[in-house]
């Protein structure tokens, strides 16, 4: 297998896994909305974080000279992906709607950072809140399943839903 085939193989596998994670995210969101919120929000956010990270890695691996080994071991990526993604693929669609796109990109950057922080290995000292493992704060230990993650409330508002729709399009339309 050549290095290019290796890279494309991983890009294809990352997008496949990202789409699968996204499917579980949507399923859990729907389930939580319809069952009276008995499911904790952390579970759907966990899948959203995993889908986002793998999406960014798939685009990163596509025809760039990135070191594959390094990418496989890194948690970060999504927060630096959204700006280039939105400006690269939405230019024609948002012609004449610069102000609208500015607002969308600003919200996307904020949400992407918050989503990236849901991974337990990201910025653990500064922001210990994550979707998987308990953390300690102000002499209390918090379980993710008992946390509401208010920093991501925006996801349920129109601006957040627009952001999620574009992430979904990025997942659906990617080709290695």
């Amino acid at each position: 297998m050549t290095e290019d085939e290796w890279r494309r193989g991983f890009a294809e596998a990352f997008i496949a896994q990202a789409r699968s994670d996204w499917g579980v995210y949507r399923l859990l969101t729907e389930q939580r909305t319809h069952d009276g919120h008995t499911l904790s929000v952390c579970h759907e956010l966990h899948y959203l974080q995993m889908a986002s990270e793998k999406l960014a890695k798939a685009y990163r691996l596509r025809d760039t000279g990135s070191a594959v080994d390094e990418l496989l071991s890194k948690h970060t990526g999504f927060a630096k992906f959204v700006g280039p993604f939105f400006t690269a693929v939405l230019k024609d669609e948002y012609q004449g709607k610069d102000a609208q796109l500015r607002g969308l990109i600003k919200r996307a950057r904020t949400l992407a950072r918050q989503i990236e922080k849901l991974a337990p290995a990201t910025d653990r000292l500064a922001t210990p809140e994550n979707a998987e493992y308990p953390w300690e704060t102000e002499d209390r230990v918090i379980a993710p399943c008992r946390h509401e993650f208010p920093s991501l409330d925006l996801l349920r508002e129109p601006g957040g839903r627009a952001f999620l729709n574009l992430v979904e399009r990025a997942l659906e339309n990617f080709q290695p």
Binding site: G65, V89, D92
Partner: protein
């Protein structure tokens, strides 16, 4: 398949030159990214090859610092009929790149590049 998402090896019919498309893209990015300070076009030795993508290093105060340069590849679109690779860094990261403390991606060099400054009106 919406333009911009697809495989980067193929693209729409080219009605503008790569230089013009790069300029237009950079100016448009300044218009929609208020914290974008500079766009540096990386010019490859084989820049004239049709499939060589437009490569932009964007210095943006709104991005997150990671201590690395992370390029993402996108397909061409109707207005930018060339595949594009974009990486954004913070102003502090860009200073570190210039001091060789952060490495650029393989094949990228500031020695052969084109600088777009933020227009005063943007």
């Amino acid at each position: 398949m919406p333009l911009g998402f697809g495989p980067i090896s193929s693209g729409p019919i080219r009605s503008v030159t790569k230089d013009q498309a790069t300029h237009d893209l950079a100016m448009w990015h300044f218009g929609v990214e208020p914290d974008l300070r500079q766009v540096i076009r990386i010019v490859a030795d084989n820049e004239d090859v049709a499939d060589e993508p437009i490569k932009l290093l964007e210095v943006n105060a709104a991005t997150v610092a990671t201590g690395s340069v992370e390029p993402y590849a996108f397909a061409g679109s109707a207005s930018v009929p060339f595949s594009t690779v974009i990486a954004e860094v913070t102003p502090e990261e860009f200073e570190r790149i210039k001091r060789n403390e952060i490495q650029l991606p393989k094949g990228w060099s500031l020695a052969k590049s084109q600088l777009f400054e933020r227009p005063h009106a943007a």
